[in-house]
Structure formats: C-alpha cells, structure tokens
Symmetry: C2
Subunit: 517 residues, 2 copies
C-alpha cells in the first residue's frame, strides 16, 4: 500500500467519523446515519488487508445488480414477448439519453422528485438520470413538434428508492413503455393500452391478474364533494394511494391525524373508495346525489363508461375493475389511470415488507404485486412547448423486474434447463494434435452461418467436450479423427441419443441445418 | 412566471455572472469559461419569454441525441447482425449497471480518467457512470469468481469528451463488446476476436476496411531499445498513438520538445513505427539486431507470428496488418492490441476536425475512421481480486455510433424507404359509423397474432387511410363496408398493385399470413 494513499484514507476515515458523530448528536434519521456509516465502513475496508494491499469493495452499487447469462436468457424471452405485442399494435420505437437536463425533470414528479439521481457538476450542464420514460417522451415530442405517434420504449430508469431486491424492487430497473400521442376519439387509445397489458400478462403466463381502473377527475371530484379543501387534494390522494398496503383504519388515521382532514370527510371518502365494479358502477355513480354534483367527476364517470364499452369490444372486461381506491402518485396524470396486479397465491402482496420501506415508499408503483401502470397525461407535453401547445397522451409502463423475479423463481422451481447460448454444434476431436483441423472445420461452419463451439486448446479430452455439450444443451457434436480426415467425413453425434453417423464434409452444413431447425 | 422563481433565477444569474468574470480575470482555459458562459445563457433563457412563462431549453444534454424511429430501425438491423455473429461464436451475454462504485473505475484508464462522469454525492455510495464495458466485465468476473467465459455485452458507455456528433462521436454511445476470459492455448482467442471484427465489418457492408495489429510488449521493447527512459513509456506511447492523425514530423516534435526525449531516440522510434507487414515482418524483427535485444519485444513478436498462423486458418489475413505505429491509450492492455478502420473513400479520416478536438482527444478510439478496437488485458481481473488472482482476457469492442452514421447516410443517399413498424394490415372502412365493426375485426386479428393498424377515429377518410399505408409501407388493407359485413367478407386490398379481392372472414387470418410471409 502506497503511504500517501494510506494517509489520505486515514484522513478520510477521521473526517467521515466526525460526520457520523455529528449526525448522531443531531438525532438525524436512521437512514441518513446508516448511509454515512456505510461510507465509513467502506473507507475502513480499504485499509483492511494484512498484505498491505488496498481492499476493494467488490459489489455493484446499492439497489442494482448484474444479470448473469441465465438471467439474460429469461430477460430476452420476456422482452421478445413484450416487443412482439407492441409491434402487433403497430408501435414504432425511439430511444433517449439516460440523462436529461436537470430542469427537464423538475416539477414533474411531485413528492417523488427527491428520488432523482443527479450527476455531479463537473462543468457544463446540470444533469439528472431519467426517472421514467414518460417525461423524456414528452420532451421528445415537444422538441420535435410531433403531435401524433404510437411508440414503445424499453430502457432502464433510475430512482434513489429503498430497494427491496428480493421482491424485484431496484434503484436501476427496466420500464417497457407503450404510449399513444395524438388526437383520437375518446377512450379508444386508453382502451388499447389496457388491451396491451392484458395481452402481455396473459402471454407471459404469470397466473391470474387484475387491472384496476380509475380516473383522476373522479378522485378530484370525490374529494371536492366530500369536503376536502382544494390545497389538500394531492396529499390526501397520496394517502388514498396507500390503501393497497394498509387497512382503511390506518389510512383514515393518517388523513385525520396527520393531514388534518375532518373525520366526517374521511368517512365519506372511505365509503367511496370501498367501491369496485364495472360499467354498472360508473352508471350508478352518475346517479349518485353527491358525486353527480361534481362536473369533473361526471366527466370522468362518463369516460369510464365509454372505456368499458371499448373493453367489451376488445374482449378484456373479465380482468378489469373500476376501483375508486386507485390513486397513482405522479403529478402528471390528468384522466384515466390504471394499474395491473398479479393475484396468484405465490405472488401475493407482502404487506410486512412494504410497510418497512417507510421513506421513499411513496413512489408511483407502490403496491407490491403491481406489474404495470399508467394513465392519461394530456398536459405534460404542453409543459415543454414554448407556447404551451398540448398533445393528448395516454400510456402504460410494464414493470419488468418483478416479472423477471417471478420467471426466475419459476425456472428454478421446475428445474428447467435454460440455454444461455444457441450453439448448434461442438467441433471436437478424440485424438491429439488436430487443433488446426478443428479450427479449419470451425471456420468452414462459421462462414456458412452455423453457430459453433470449439474448446480451443491443443488437446482437450473427448469426454470433457461431450460433457460440456450435455451441460449447456448443445445438440450436436462433429468429431474429427485421423480416419475421418482421411475419408473426408466427420462423425456427427447426436448428444441426446448418442447416435453417431458419418457425414461427408460437403453435406455437413445442410445436415446441421436440417437437424437444428 | 412565479415571482419567487423569477427572483431566484435573477440571483442565480448574478452569481453565475461573477463566476464567469472571475474565470476571465484568472485567465482560465477557454473551455472552462465556455462551459460557465453556457450555464449563464441557460439561466438567462429561462427569463426570456415575453409571455412571462419560464422558458425551457428544449434539448438533450451536450454530446447526446435521441434516436427517432428510422434511426432505431437501422440500429436494430446493425445490432441483429452483430448479435448474430456473437452467437455464432457461442457467446453468452451479461448485463451490468450503468453506474459502478467510483473506486471500481479508479486507476484503470490512465489519462482518460478525467473524462469519467461522476454522480452527485446525495448520501450513500460514490458512483460513476461506466466508461467502457471492459472494467465492469472484469469486476463481474472477480466478484463471481468466474475464470472462464465467452461473453458479449451491448450497452451504452459515457465519456465527458469533446463531442463531434456529425462524425459519430458522442458522450453517450453504444459499445458492442465480445471477450474471451480463461486459460487457452496462446493466440487462439486473440485470433477469434479478429475473426469477429472481420465477419461483422464484412456483413455490415461498409466498404473496405483494415485491421491493424500490434502488441504492447513490442511497443515497450521498442521504447527500451530506442533508449526511452522507463518512466516515459506511457507518455511516449500516447504520443505515438497520434500518428494516425498527425504527420510523423509533428509527433516527433511533441516527443522531443514537449516530452523531453532525445532527438536520436525519437528518430529510432520513427524508423520502427513506419513499418507495416504481416508474419514476415514479425520474423524480420525477430532477427533485428536491436529489437531482438528486448526479451519483451521477442515475446510479442513470437506471439504475433503465431497469431498470423491462426488468422490464415481463419481466412482473414487479407485485411490484417501488423503495424508498429498502433498504440492504444488504455492502461490495462498487456499483450496483443488491434484496431479496425474503414478505408473507403467516403468515410476516410478527417484530419482537420480531429486536430481541433484538442483537449480530451487523447481517448482510446482516437483515430477517426476507427470502428473497433481491443486487445489482451491479462492483469485487469487481478486488480479486483482480493488475492490478486489473474484471469487472462482478450476482447474487442465494436464502436457502433460511427457505423450508424454511415448506415444513415447510405440509407438517405439511396432514398431507401425504411419501415419503422412491421404492420401487416390496416383495417379501414369506406363508410361512416363502422368504428365498432373495425375494432371488432382488429381484435380478431390481434388475437390471432397479426400486426394490425387502425386509425382509431369515428370517420377517417378512406383515401387518407390508404395514403398512410403507402407512406409507411403497410402491404395490405382490409376494407369494411355495409355490404362486406352483410356478406361476411372483407375486401382485401394489396397496396402495391391496388388489386382488391373479397375474402371470407374465416379465412382472413390465413390469407394475411400467406401474403406477408
């Protein structure tokens, strides 16, 4: 260890120790103290080794993970299903940078803004990592003056949230977004988004699911007729949003005790948010003496009714529920909102964990079990347009990490062998000193577009070459020996049956193609 | 505009103005001043509008860009070619987070470290955006104790470099990496990496190309026998690296005047770095009275000889040149290094621009025209292993942005129509009030896996629906009218020929599949 480095680290430890002491004296939050203690330990670890080497902390950043080849194989499968669905619906795709100007993200996420990752000011523009794909999409539309597009975007987003990685909640995670921008007849694009969620969740075969639907205008109207003051709509809305993780009694307590709502108003809200149904419920509420007083609520209810008529045409009403307790956190929604949940036993909500994740748990996709969400955001593009021109938009975001977790668990449970390569054939030899001949054959096959593997050492053992095929699922082996070379053939071995047959060199490519269709 | 916001912005402008004045007074570098002026202008722009609205700067961060659907279509094509090649060679794939612990990147990139993006310290770990995919790969191997893998990784990396976007040089850009880790017989994996570059550049059809090969040990040996002091190897090496952008006279001047090398040593280097050849050159240099005095150089030369024998087996020697002037910047290379250049007229090096990009232009893939590079890095994994255990590695990185630029230019030049969706059929109607019937048919087709488009408004004009098909390359139209509904058929129109034929509803799916194979 370099003495200069050592001294520097020791000084850093000293000053970091003071930071921790100060926080403790100030009775700072446990989270804050934990973070600083973690930094301290990291520094101490560097001095650690007896051999005088600087010790690295060998890990990925908190809340992130690597994907190994098996996980990548699952990921590829999931993405294929999703992309195929998006393409079936005629969507184009775009991509945007992983970071945006900081101001692009400002004022779009309400309370969740504190979870945005900022880049260090190293001179130049101030930048933040994207928090979702919706705001960059809106920026893209405004910047390119696009008023009409159906697009999908699959990319990673970043949130400084409390990770719960075993449940598929990360700080770096994929979103698969599908959005329709443009002026269409009411509720048709909204219904198509729900159709997409339905198709994807069905095809991924994750067990039963439910799609909850509500409307921001119904929520706001409900708050108004229940006597919630205007300036408390947002904060009461985020309390309602906790209903999928807390019983009503606790939610009510938070409204009354923490947010200062009258008991009476809270009780009235409680009555509404317990309602679930379909088109019938929307019709009933349109007749409701109180609810019908709110113009906003009526507009929302009429649209929900219309929405359900399209859902019928699309044949997906069996999984969709109009649920007045659904209230998604993000500021930018203006109309219909929805969220999809897996309801199968094995993947049911885990309430305990969700409650532990206290700070930062107000983020959008709060409910454990939730795998997709979205809604209408007619005002967002206008926030980026110099003249405030609006472009109506509706979209849905599939949260892939949780789906990965489930698929991984399923793959493990059924001991299914996942192939991590697509190799069709292994070029092997039983005898020594045939490396050159193997490489010549490998080149022939590569040049013919065959996926080939070869253990590129002088004298590999035939048994270990065959074992490798069995373990990694390679279906064929081409075995070369002096005799085969003399005869101008290769011995083609089928790994599963151990059947062997001589094939002439000129017919090998066709034979491989035929057998690995 | 909110008065509080306005006041805040005005104060920010004031203090930013002082920053700029101070820098000017201190005669800071032009770059530094420019950066701060840019920030000042950004702030002023916010106050700009007469309508009192805060003005957004509607752009992506410096050195980054969005991909529109056409660019995405090209990107998908290029990725498909590359991934297909990687899979043909039996590679698995992994993914790593976009950021790493800052210390993971420390000490890996030599002078280029200043180009790393750091994240802001918001509590918790100190993070940086990945600078390449090689260091995360080495970290992954050490962390998971993997000593043997052939893997590819396609992802974005980040460098705070001087962008030259028209030439395909960005701050956020894709790398497509293929690496072989593990103990193999010498030079076989190295040769396979070159084979991969050869295959990909051939298949992408980008015109003629050349792959330069050299070896770090040959460079170091050459420096030693030419009398370069040990502690100047790296800095002289990075000067040699500029030979593809500067004439020898200027390179020599930099060595002698800036780096303090003796004129005699520089001249000797000059003689060597002008040498190009193949296996024969390696043989000749092994006999060279001076060069052969360096054990290191001899080891490198023997390996280059062996490498060329495998390149012959792989049938790729026609594009590979042993070139003693090749010197890649990154610290971690230990053996063979290589770089691929496009040599076709239209894509030749642009010397003027490269020279302008003075600061930050010392980065790895300096040479304009360079589209791939890599080499052997046997020590990198050991830097992450607590016990320093080494894993020999060799790899190659395909620089995709430049290839995108060329493909885009080509697509524009030949006015080729690039489809941005894969829609097979448009469901249209000639009459009003058939929206429901159209949606019913669309649902039928979606459920049968057909890629369908439908203009989801009540009364679209048939002509505009047909026009949309011609513009976006949709090959078929299903036209619905009262008569067709009564007869249980749809009118199937072939867009290209305008031929129309009635197809019974039950046979439609099969007919579409047949016609859009």
């Amino acid at each position: 260890i370099d003495m200069d480095d050592k001294t520097q680290i020791q000084e850093a430890i000293k000053s970091q120790g003071e930071v921790v002491r100060k926080l403790k004296a100030e009775k700072a939050s446990k989270d804050q103290i934990d973070e600083e203690v973690a930094k301290l330990l990291q520094l101490k670890a560097k001095l650690g080794g007896d051999d005088g080497k600087i010790q690295f902390v060998l890990k990925t950043p908190k809340g992130t993970r690597d994907y190994n080849p098996k996980q990548m194989a699952i990921r590829e499968k999931v993405f294929n299903t999703i992309v195929h669905c998006f393409k079936r619906h005629g969507a184009e795709t775009i991509d945007t940078p992983v970071f945006e100007l900081k101001e692009t993200l400002t004022g779009k996420y309400g309370e969740d803004s504190k979870l945005i990752y900022d880049l260090k000011d190293q001179g130049g523009e101030l930048l933040s990592l994207r928090y979702d794909l919706t705001v960059p999409f809106a920026r893209y539309l405004a910047m390119n003056k696009i008023t009409n597009i159906k697009r999908y975007h699959i990319a990673k987003v970043y949130r400084r949230d409390n990770p719960a990685m075993t449940r598929g909640r990360y700080r770096e995670f994929y979103q698969c977004d599908f959005d329709i921008a443009g002026q269409y007849d009411a509720m048709i694009p909204d219904a198509e988004c729900l159709k997409i969620v339905y198709e994807i969740l069905s095809e991924l075969d994750l067990g039963d699911f439910r799609i909850k639907v509500n409307d921001r205008r119904i929520l706001d109207g409900m708050f108004a007729v229940c006597g919630v003051p205007d300036d408390k709509f947002r904060t009461i809305c985020s309390t309602v949003d906790k209903l999928d993780k807390m019983p009503w009694e606790e939610v009510k307590k938070e409204m009354v005790n923490e947010k200062g709502l009258s008991e009476e108003a809270a009780d009235q809200i409680g009555e509404y948010v317990s309602m679930q149904g379909g088109m019938d419920l929307a019709e009933r509420l349109l007749q409701d003496p109180k609810m019908s007083q709110s113009k906003q609520a009526c507009a929302g209810l009429t649209d929900v009714k219309l929405l359900f008529s399209y859902l019928q045409l699309f044949q997906i009403t069996d999984k969709v529920v109009f649920d007045l307790s659904l209230a998604r956190g993000l500021d930018y929604y203006t109309g219909v909102i929805y969220e999809a949940l897996l309801t199968q036993a094995g993947v049911a909500p885990v309430v305990a964990e969700a409650q532990n994740g206290a700070p930062g748990s107000t983020e959008e996709s709060v409910s454990v079990g939730s795998v997709a969400g979205g809604g209408r955001y007619d005002g967002l593009v206008g926030m980026f347009d110099p003249k405030g021109r609006k472009v109506p938009c509706v979209g849905v975001s599939i949260g892939i990490e949780r789906i990965f977790s489930i698929m991984e668990q399923k793959a493990e449970a059924c001991a299914e062998k996942i192939r991590t390569t697509e190799v069709q054939i292994m070029v092997a030899s039983a005898q020594k000193n045939l490396l050159e001949e193997r490489l010549r054959l490998v080149t022939e096959l590569w040049n013919a577009g065959i996926k080939v593997q070869c253990i590129c050492i002088f004298n590999p053992k035939l048994l270990s070459q065959l074992q490798h095929c069995e373990e990694s699922g390679i279906p064929l082996v081409a075995i070369l020996g002096e005799q085969e070379l003399k005869d101008g053939v290769v011995k083609l071995r089928v790994v599963a049956t151990r059947e062997e047959v001589d094939i002439s060199r000129g017919e090998l490519v066709e034979e491989i193609k035929k057998r690995t269709l």
